[in-house]
Point group: C2
Chain length 197, copies 2
DNA sequence: CCCGGCAGACTAACCAGTCGGTATGTCGTG
DNA sequence: CACGACATACCGACTGGTTAGTCTGCCGGG
């Protein structure tokens, strides 16, 4: 029996990461002990430290995964061949849907930055900045071409929208009346309405 | 010499609370040891546990203070004798300014809820809900009287705006180009623009 | 003389990370 | 194909360090 997939079918590293994600989201990073993680994943500490350098590494993986996914999706949308207005709407709605789809990741994201080691923290900030700038460029493009109001600096507009995304993990519940897509449409709509000249 | 104000003029309990607030905001609740708090306040554990029941109590005080202040301000604005549009704008801008004025409290607020004991957590949620409902009522009043668009459910509008408020502690810096009032005006403006029929 | 206000040593619990050990698999060689 | 050498994947007891909270007692003012 291959030890790597012992128990169920998924490989141990992914089981560990999944367990850690759920526990970090539920109880917070430092209310979660390494012992709890390995128990939830059905292994022991030996396995965890075989695949990951530290508890901190596990957290960093959550950030890396989320940032990679979001950046890829934004790039694809921003590079698409559509009017700015449409691309902004798509980007704004898309980030809402993927955030809701990974609500655990999202609540960890905004709550646990200060648990990352200084270098990892710096790295995460840098990647998030890249994302922010890409989004801001889209807004500016719309402002320059006259389809968006220039009343508000693009930076602030981006922070305004991401505030609402950030906030999703606080209030959104799958049991609520709205589907992720409906929430996304509404939030994108609010952004676009706010940007009308 | 009265021990209560030993060192500087402010009473020990307030010194403790101030030190805790700064440290919780800077390093997070559980990266802050009780020892650090008492050292920053210039006292010892004996003093802290003389005035507060637990470390958790200290955190709860931060929440209680913030909620009380915000609720009072919102009530005053909502009860004022002015058109809905104006009252919403005032309320939206005011919460931004007071949040920036107490940025430490704000970053603690959204990051450390899960460190509160279950009952305290419940209590905080209840008070926050009251705040939310009051704000929502304002939006609905505007929608019912036709000055605001009804395209988006009022609940979502409130969460949209509070997302951006929540997010302030992530990006706002006093060294940045915008004063708190300018940020507040912009964010209130974005909200009002999004609500135009 | 007594009590609120505080000092600071102490305790019991916990926890991240280590380390020596075991089982299974793979590969080169005769 | 048999066999040893080495590697990978994991186990779980242990350690060193930290921490929230307690408790005894001192000290000065009313």
């Amino acid at each position: 029996m291959a030890r790597t997939t012992d128990g169920d079918g998924t490989p141990v590293p992914q089981r560990l990461l999944a367990a850690a994600t759920r526990l970090f989201a539920d109880h917070g990073y430092d209310r979660t002990s390494v012992q709890e993680i390995v128990e939830a994943a059905g292994v022991t500490k030996g396995a965890l430290y075989h695949y990951f350098g530290s508890k901190d590494d596990l957290l960093h993986e959550v950030y890396a995964r989320m940032l990679r996914v979001q950046q890829e999706r934004l790039d694809a949308i921003a590079d698409a061949d559509a009017p700015v207005e449409q691309r902004v709407r798509d980007a704004a709605a898309d980030v809402v849907v993927t955030t809701i789809d990974n609500l655990d990741d999202a609540s960890i994201f905004f709550r646990s930055m200060h648990h990352l080691s200084p270098e990892k923290n710096k790295q995460v900030r840098a990647e998030r900045r890249r994302y922010h700038e890409r989004f801001r460029a889209l807004i500016e493009e719309g402002q320059d071409s006259g389809v968006f109001s220039t009343a508000t600096p693009a930076d602030l507009v981006v922070d305004y929208h991401f505030g609402s995304v950030h906030h999703l993990s606080t209030w959104y519940s799958p049991e609520g009346p709205l589907t992720p897509q409906q929430v996304a449409d509404h939030l994108a709509d609010l952004l676009l309405r706010a940007l009308r000249p």
